[in-house]
């Protein structure tokens, strides 16, 4: 069943506009809206939240037309990248804020706040004020404040953007865990394909106030339907696979190919290898690098200073060469080449 239906949404705010957006999100889905800065993705999110009134079109949540409803009557929650914790209230009051306005009794609120804080590992912070918290703690608080009201729809606006890499990875896992447990329909706006790839059931690519493509991350990644989508998502090697830990390394099975990584994680994982970390050669290289494959060169795209190659080695690898290196190697579509990269260059998301 469709949880969210956005039809012909047209809205103009200052220099930003949404041009007839059509979008549906299924119940329980984790949906990512991906686009560069200024693509209108935050306005779309805030329109679904009810912050902006559309000039045209309609928004249905749970089959109710909410186009003219105030945000408070939509049963949704928002988490912003810059946390937006109320600085004049402590963490306990921040988390309990929504319940207070939804008419819960004090003892019930107290109880739910304790439970939600425990769920997110921030019980020890309840009596502190937001200014004394780290970025990760602030975002956990913001997530707690959003999920405690049990919304039909959770709206996340770049929730991981303002965090350092370690915290980012931990909170990404946290978002996955919350979604797996609560099954709340989630729309997550981001400009990082890597982040969307690891989390999303489906993604929409947005640019210039329009949605360019909607599909599973794999579909969008493998079959981008426009040059924009291709250039936006096509810079990374991202794969899904199953990982087993052996001898202090992870062996990740992807379509029959085994990639070794120094990162330790088992089960279903997403893997990324930066194109510039892959060494390409016409003959096999003997080195300490543990990942070595061979494949056919299927695509050559000349950029200003570099050349982008796609090599089909069971799975398609994207590789970047400098113009000089490319010319020296004398490659053409159909060349048989060898790929080599280190276990440390294999990132598990």
């Amino acid at each position: 069943m469709n949880m969210i239906e956005v039809s012909d949404l047209l809205i103009e705010i200052g220099e930003f506009e949404l041009k007839r957006i059509n979008l549906f999100v299924k119940e329980g889905e984790y949906f990512c809206i991906l686009g560069p800065t200024g693509s209108g993705k935050t306005i779309l999110l805030e329109s679904i939240a009810g912050i902006y009134r559309p000039d045209m079109g309609s928004i249905l949540i749970n089959r109710h037309n909410v186009t003219d409803l105030l945000p408070k009557d939509r049963n949704i929650s928002v988490v912003y990248q810059d946390f937006m914790l109320f600085p004049n209230m402590n963490i306990r009051d921040n988390i309990g804020f929504g319940l207070k306005y939804k008419g819960y009794e004090k003892s019930v609120i107290e109880d739910k706040v304790e439970k939600t804080a425990e769920f997110l590992g921030i019980s020890h912070l309840l009596d502190r004020y937001p200014s004394t918290l780290s970025g990760g703690e602030k975002q956990r608080t913001a997530i707690a404040r959003a999920i405690i009201t049990e919304p039909d729809l959770l709206l996340l606006d770049e929730p991981l953007y303002a965090l350092d890499p370690g915290t980012k990875a931990r909170l990404r896992q946290e978002l996955l865990r919350i979604h797996q447990l609560k099954k709340t329909t989630t729309i997550h706006v981001t400009h990082s394909f890597e982040g969307a790839f690891a989390l999303a059931d489906r993604i929409a690519i947005m640019h210039g106030g329009k949605i360019h493509q909607v599909g599973t991350p794999d579909e969008v990644f493998r079959k981008p339907n426009s040059a924009f989508v291709a250039s936006f998502v096509g810079v990374e090697n991202l794969f899904h696979g199953t990982s087993v830990i052996k001898d202090d390394q992870s062996e990740i099975l992807i379509n029959g190919l085994i990639i070794i990584s120094n990162a330790l994680k088992s089960g279903n994982v997403s893997v990324s290898i930066r194109p510039e970390d892959i060494l390409i050669s016409k003959d096999p290289i003997h080195s300490s690098a543990q990942n070595s494959f061979s494949g056919v060169l299927t695509e050559i795209t000349r950029m200003r200073a570099t050349v982008n190659l796609v090599i089909d080695a069971v799975i398609p690898f994207r590789v970047v060469l400098t113009k000089r290196a490319y010319d020296d190697m004398g490659l053409y579509v159909g060349s048989w080449v060898y790929l080599t990269f280190k276990a440390s260059a294999t990132h598990i998301i």
């Binding site: 912050i51 105030l70 408070k72 939509r74 928002v78 912003y80 804020f97």
Partner: protein, 262 residues
């Protein structure tokens, strides 16, 4: 050597200006001996002026706060046609000589049918205490508006967005987030508005007149007593106004309000 010459010339001018300001204040407060200064301050006329100034400036400051909160919020948060013109218009009284604003008020309340309608209804502004309040309000509301506008502009509207999604009406969201977060700006604005109300002369003179023991605020007391040669009473009124300026500057600086003026 040339660099030092430049430096010393600047420093000497700075010291001269400081000396000038210091002498100016020193002359007033030391003109009379402390005992007679105190005697004049507690004289019935100056006591009356202090009370009247306090009463009118507190009321006009509250009026400024009440009206500028919604108006400055509109200017900070909404986009509409003619916003630039309205902004300029609302800033205008700040640059206008208060005596000119006072003349405008006198014409509105003294010569128009709207003015006589209000007077018939019991709201007389010409040569009355309500006139003092109205004059202070008209001159100071722009400054308060400017401070509140930049205060609201400095508060992320997403606090209200979040509050609204969590169950607040737009008004509740404003009341629970933006309003408490504007506390410092509002305090700084109130202090400076109040102090300017205490010292307002030109507009008050035009609308409320200068009647001894009736519309005699501190600056009016200063003016009346200087005109009639009662220098000691004039100095008593001036000393109180200097004290108020000192307190105001201290409170305003503490709330970091100076930066919010621009």
């Amino acid at each position: 050597m040339q660099r030092n010459g430049f430096k010393y010339a600047n420093i000497i001018l700075m010291l001269l200006l400081s000396l000038f300001i210091f002498t100016l204040i020193f002359e007033i407060v030391t003109h009379a001996d402390p005992l007679s200064l105190i005697a004049n301050i507690i004289s019935p006329e100056i006591q009356f002026a202090i009370h009247l100034s306090l009463l009118t400036s507190v009321i006009s400051t509250f009026m400024c706060i009440l009206i500028t909160i919604p108006v400055s919020y509109s200017l900070a948060r909404y986009d509409f046609h003619g916003k630039a013109i309205i902004n300029t218009l609302l800033d205008l009284p700040m640059a206008l000589p208060p005596i000119v604003a006072g003349l405008g008020l006198l014409l509105i309340f003294g010569t128009t049918s709207f003015g006589s309608y209000l007077a018939d209804a019991g709201l007389k502004f010409v040569f009355t205490v309500p006139g003092i309040i109205m004059a202070q309000f008209a001159v100071n509301v722009s400054l308060m508006l400017r401070i509140m506008r930049s205060t609201f502009e400095g508060i992320n509207p997403r606090y209200e967005h979040v509050a609204q999604t969590l169950g607040c009406t737009p008004f509740q969201a404003f009341f629970r987030t933006t309003l408490p977060l504007s506390k410092n700006g509002m305090l700084a604005g109130s202090v400076i508005t109040w102090s300017r109300g205490m010292g307002e002369f030109g507009a008050v003179l035009m609308l409320a007149g200068a009647t001894r023991m009736k519309t005699e605020t501190l600056p009016i007391a200063l003016y009346l007593n200087i005109s009639s040669g009662e220098l000691d009473l004039a100095i008593a009124a001036a000393s109180i106004l200097i004290l108020i300026s000192g307190i105001t500057l201290y409170l305003f600086e503490r709330k970091g309000g100076v930066a919010k003026l621009c």
